[in-house]
Symmetry: C2
Subunit: 423 residues, 2 copies
């Protein structure tokens, strides 16, 4: 089945807004086994829309149109759809009532131009938008099925997942239940993960599981996209493959699905009623910033200290110059961790020291990272050297530090070699 | 003149890579007065490329093709261009020699398949790529001018600015020297800035200056895109408009061109040989993280403290419970700023306290921000209330704090009302 995405709007065409809607939709389609054929971007311009609808209808079986469903004069999607399908626009009374209710519940009166959003081409299939005033719809134009979706990303995402993908899968004759299982890991590069997981798709009885990766340096997302005839069959398909991923990636897995590395750490602390303090140098607050804004981090996160200067950092945690004179070593990281733990009263103290190379930033530029962790079980350290330029070192050190803490909390070794370190 | 952008590659089509190349090119075109007409995305697929070239040639005067110039088998742009133009591919000896030299200087031997990158359609105009092995070229197809550009963003960006835009401007008959002047402001929303700057384009003698905005909450970028026959004429055109922007946006301007807010603060500190310490709550290290990783921030940035808990924060800067008992007030912010300045030995101390609303995150969710600054001139405070949800409050408070420090360093009032605050 040939699928096209047609993104509309001057903001997208002129580059004012980056077209993340195309990439999100296309990626989701790929994850459920649907193949993209073409993408088009046109502005809020009637002749371009008419022409784009005509061309897409000729090439594709299904066309996802995004944007142009708003209340203003330059939102043309319904009108042009009706024209292209050769029908009139008619008022969808149900949607109008839903919109009016939507406003009433917020203590407001619906502006009259929102009524336009309830005008749909005659005979179109209504597609629900539970979180906005732009409903979607589907209609046949020149033999292709057109799906109209809102431009607001969160409304589009939900409609694509809940409404459009099931319809596309049905059209395509593909099995209709899908699931995306995600594993997040730290310390394994994409190509090595690819090697380590070679052949695991075959573990699913009768196939139906597709392995994919998405690198967000320094983390890697491993995705299992599955489709089957029923939820029970999905469970059966995925169980052996999930087990294999857990076994192969093992201690490198930091979390699954919507959970994050810092979320896993905070949850572990909250569960035990324990607390954390951090001290960091060139990561410059990035470690603290991963924890602090999270809902629920008020209780476990007690204190963070940031300094580029070791003397300042030692002073901030109540240590004297003799410690700073040791330089940026594992011993210093351990001493600061102990002092920070005592001073802050936190159950766990995480310290990430970085000694940057001298000279200009370039790809060979590196840093030596010393992580120190103090808790009721004692004080430990982890040393790693990373290359790749200033930003790369900073990003790598941030996750290395948080991951050491995760490992320590989970009783795993903190010194397993990672792919990003140079020995 | 009708301009189209055609982005090629499976990574873009399937959404694995977000299509930032389209948005960058389109934005740059708009900034020099060129108008976008259509955008297309196709994969590394010969029939799709042939069809896309044919359609674009029919619609447009100029087509910018991006991607497909690499050395591998799935890079098809040169081949399909030659086919569409009805000519053969011929070896560009100059470019081959340049590529070989490129490898030799890095102590490597050019892999044989890179030779493919020097094969250009017969009669094509060579377009230089000073930083990569994928050269560009231009050729007429069915009456439209096609420009082929590399998919690697930094190579594409340079080629668009230095090579493609001048050719497009010449084709369009537009004046050929262009300049983009940028102002960054904090505290003024896009619609108000638009009102405040109404009519300033008319200050340029004979026109030629176009005003535009790009919002990066909470900052706003105000852009003046100018075109003229010469650099001297550009200076003359821009001078009165730049002066008007500086006058109208006044103290809200934080920096110009490539300078950032935190860069302006660090430069001011370095220039005076002075130092900074910070203390923050819900911004969670985001304020420190803006300063610390910057090259040159080692000297001025002494120390940052992060805590969600006021008692912890007071303890960290050596204050007792009586201060914490005052709550999150302007007085508390001033007391912490003074204590932090004394304790760290920094010349300037910046404290940003936030009292978040209770309850679930939503658009009406807000926070009350108290900024305290201590320096040799005394201690001051600034209070503001912001709404818009947790993330919005955190982003707004981060810039509010840093901007108060900029204002203080520049001798400007720190309590000018900003558009994002609710009183």
């Amino acid at each position: 089945m040939r699928i096209e995405i047609l993104c509309t709007g001057d903001e997208i065409l002129t580059g004012k807004t980056i077209n993340t809607n195309h990439s999100h939709m296309a990626r989701r389609f790929g994850e459920v086994g649907l193949t993209m054929h073409w993408g088009t971007i046109v502005g809020d311009d009637r002749p371009s829309l008419v022409e784009a609808f005509k061309l897409a209808a000729k090439r594709a079986d299904a066309v996802i149109v995004n944007g142009g469903l708003g209340p203003t004069i330059d939102d043309l999607s319904q009108e042009v759809a009706a024209e292209a399908a050769g029908v009139d626009l008619v008022l969808d009374e149900n949607w109008l009532a839903r919109m009016e209710d939507f406003y009433t519940r917020r203590g407001r009166v619906m502006p009259p131009n929102n009524r336009k959003q309830a005008m749909l081409p005659e005979g179109a299939e209504f597609i629900n938008n539970p979180i906005g005033t732009a409903c979607g719809f589907a209609i046949d134009i020149d033999g292709a099925r057109f799906f109209f979706t809102p431009g607001v990303p969160r409304e589009m995402r939900r409609m694509i997942d809940e409404q459009v993908i099931p319809r596309l899968l049905e059209m395509s004759g593909l099995k209709v239940v899908t699931r995306l299982k995600r594993f997040h890991s730290f310390g394994i590069g994409e190509s090595r993960a690819d090697q380590m997981l070679q052949g695991i798709e075959d573990l699913a009885p009768n196939g139906g599981v597709k392995l994919g990766f998405q690198a967000h340096y320094p983390q890697l997302e491993t995705k299992l996209a599955a489709q089957a005839a029923s939820e029970a069959e999905l469970d059966a398909l995925l169980a052996p493959v999930e087990a294999a991923v857990r076994e192969k990636l093992g201690t490198f897995i930091i979390s699954e699905d919507a959970q994050s590395l810092e979320g896993a750490v905070i949850d572990a602390l909250v569960e035990r009623g324990e607390t954390l303090a951090t001290a960091e140098m060139f990561t410059g607050g990035a470690i603290a910033a991963r924890f602090v804004p999270k809902d629920g981090a008020e209780d476990p996160f007690l204190r963070g200290v940031v300094s580029r200067d070791l003397g300042q950092m030692c002073h901030a945690v109540g240590l004297d110059e003799t410690v700073a004179a040791q330089g940026l070593t594992a011993e210093t990281a351990m001493a600061i961790a102990s002092a920070l733990r005592d001073q802050s009263g936190a159950g766990h103290a995480l310290v990430v020291l970085i000694e940057l190379d001298d000279g200009a930033d370039k790809i060979e530029f590196g840093g030596t990272i010393n992580v120190g962790i103090a808790d009721s079980g004692g004080v430990i350290a982890r040393t790693a050297r990373m290359l790749g330029g200033r930003d790369w070192v900073r990003l790598g050190a941030t996750d290395l530090g948080i991951d050491c803490l995760r490992r320590r909390l989970q009783g795993l070794p903190v010194d397993e070699r990672i792919d990003f370190e140079k020995r």
